[in-house]
Symmetry: C2
Subunit: 288 residues, 2 copies
């Protein structure tokens, strides 16, 4: 029987922990507070930011969505972030991507200070992931962190395993490769220029796809040993307007030992990671 790596039972367990942590922080005078900067009206961004706010409030944290006009002037945009960086009541700040064209030249990972960068995009936070130092107090990017949590909570062994990651983005592929390496896996980072990618994925114990191509990973990527684990980071829309992953779930679900569903797999884990990072940022304040 293929194990379906659903986020639901893990979310239930971690939510309980987060509620308890949040209560403790509030009892100690800290009310965890996230600000989400949203520029424009990208439909997917509206859905994602609303989910983040809802989950923060569910665990007892505060969350405001700062909705900014698509045309916002650069200087005004930077001023708003600067104010948040200096606001002692705010513990975490994220900038929802994508940004409109006139803000794309910004090095977005450096805008929010390291201490409040609960998305884990700041150079200092990525350095922690690369160097495997101070991981406990710094912030690991939410999707990679969520994937590791999902595998560990599902009792999937990581150490000594071979992992193929498809996609080398700074948001998923690269930090995830570092995390798996830190957990003693042997990682092959694949991308659009990789030749014979199926030969690589067939050799690996764990396959992660994070490229944003609907149903890219099908039975031709899978070995015939029925012992592989497949993690699908894709959030694509198919021709019928439906959400679908990078993985052709129906075609491979009986060929592997475990697989994440879309929706209900990596997506919810990303939001859980964000809340964990927010509470960590709040706890860090406590120890000052």
């Amino acid at each position: 029987m293929t194990q379906i790596l659903s986020a639901a039972p893990i979310k239930k367990k971690i939510t309980k922990e987060l509620k308890s942590d949040c209560k403790f922080l509030k009892e100690n005078g800290i009310h965890p507070y996230l600000k989400v900067i949203l520029v424009g009206n990208n439909p997917a961004s509206l859905v994602y930011t609303a989910s983040k706010k809802k989950y923060c409030e569910r665990i007892g944290a505060k969350c405001d969505i700062i909705a900014l006009d698509e045309q916002i002037e650069l200087i005004k945009f930077l001023t708003i972030i600067d104010e948040i960086n200096h606001d002692n009541d705010v513990h975490g700040c994220i900038i929802q991507l994508p940004l409109p064209k006139h803000l794309l030249h910004l090095d977005v990972g450096k805008l929010v200070i390291q201490e409040k960068d609960v998305d884990g995009f700041h150079p200092e936070n990525l350095y922690s992931v690369l160097s495997n130092q101070n991981i406990e107090t710094h912030f690991v990017s939410c999707t990679p962190k969520g994937i590791i949590t999902l595998l560990r909570e599902s009792q999937i062994e990581i150490a000594n395993k071979r992992v193929a990651i498809i996609g080398r983005s700074m948001i998923v592929g690269k930090p995830l490769a570092c995390l798996f390496t830190n957990h003693n896996a042997t990682v092959t980072l694949c991308h659009s220029k990789t030749q014979n990618i199926r030969e690589i994925t067939k050799e690996c114990d764990i396959i992660v796809s994070a490229v944003g191509i609907a149903h890219l990973v099908d039975e031709t990527f899978i070995s015939n040993k029925k012992n592989q684990v497949v993690v699908d980071v894709g959030m694509n829309t198919n021709a019928n307007g439906e959400l679908c992953g990078d993985v052709n779930f129906e075609k491979i679900k009986d060929l592997v030992s475990a697989i994440t569903p879309v929706p209900g797999g990596v997506g919810p884990m990303t939001i859980i990671s964000l809340a964990q990072n927010l509470l960590q940022a709040s706890k860090n304040r406590l120890s000052l």
Copy 2:
């Protein structure tokens, strides 16, 4: 015929370029100046720092070795680095490793400011390598940078190739994996916990060993297709006190298409990279 990837002809060519760049900088009022901090009397460190000084002077740059007592007080050590960080006449500073035990708790990559970190160990410089941004003005770690230069100058194709790197250190393995990925290679980062490492190296076009185990890589790591490139980063001492690499050169030299010698391969390339970084740091000052 196996191609021996010797640094000598490349060094000759690049030294000429560096001399010319250095002359240009001096004509524009900037005399490139490196400070090398050396704590204690580690014999290998004495040799390395002397080589670095000699090469800097050969291209026309200034280089001082700041030789400090093995027992130097922490506060004094930090004060010296702080003074160098603030000294406008100094363009680059490196701290020769290893440091004595009482300084090992320091996050050594953060001591020298990014602008003078010509070793490429600062989080901001490593972030550039990871994100493939601002590589031209930031500093890539010297050994990884030297390996890429050696391969490119030797007309070894990198894009679309599969690369196995053995060793996940922050000085070589991890930044080198990022660099190869940035150059469109597909990298598998191997380490002490990797199972069946020979199966991986046999599949790859380029094998880099950077683990510090004398003669680890022998014919059992090599495919029988005679088309692999082997790069040896090892600087080990064998039972007779002689310098030897991670690779058993004699055993595999006829089984591969190209191989670096030890000495005379990666070692000199590391010093060239340091000098390139120093001149880049000096040029960055010019544009201020």
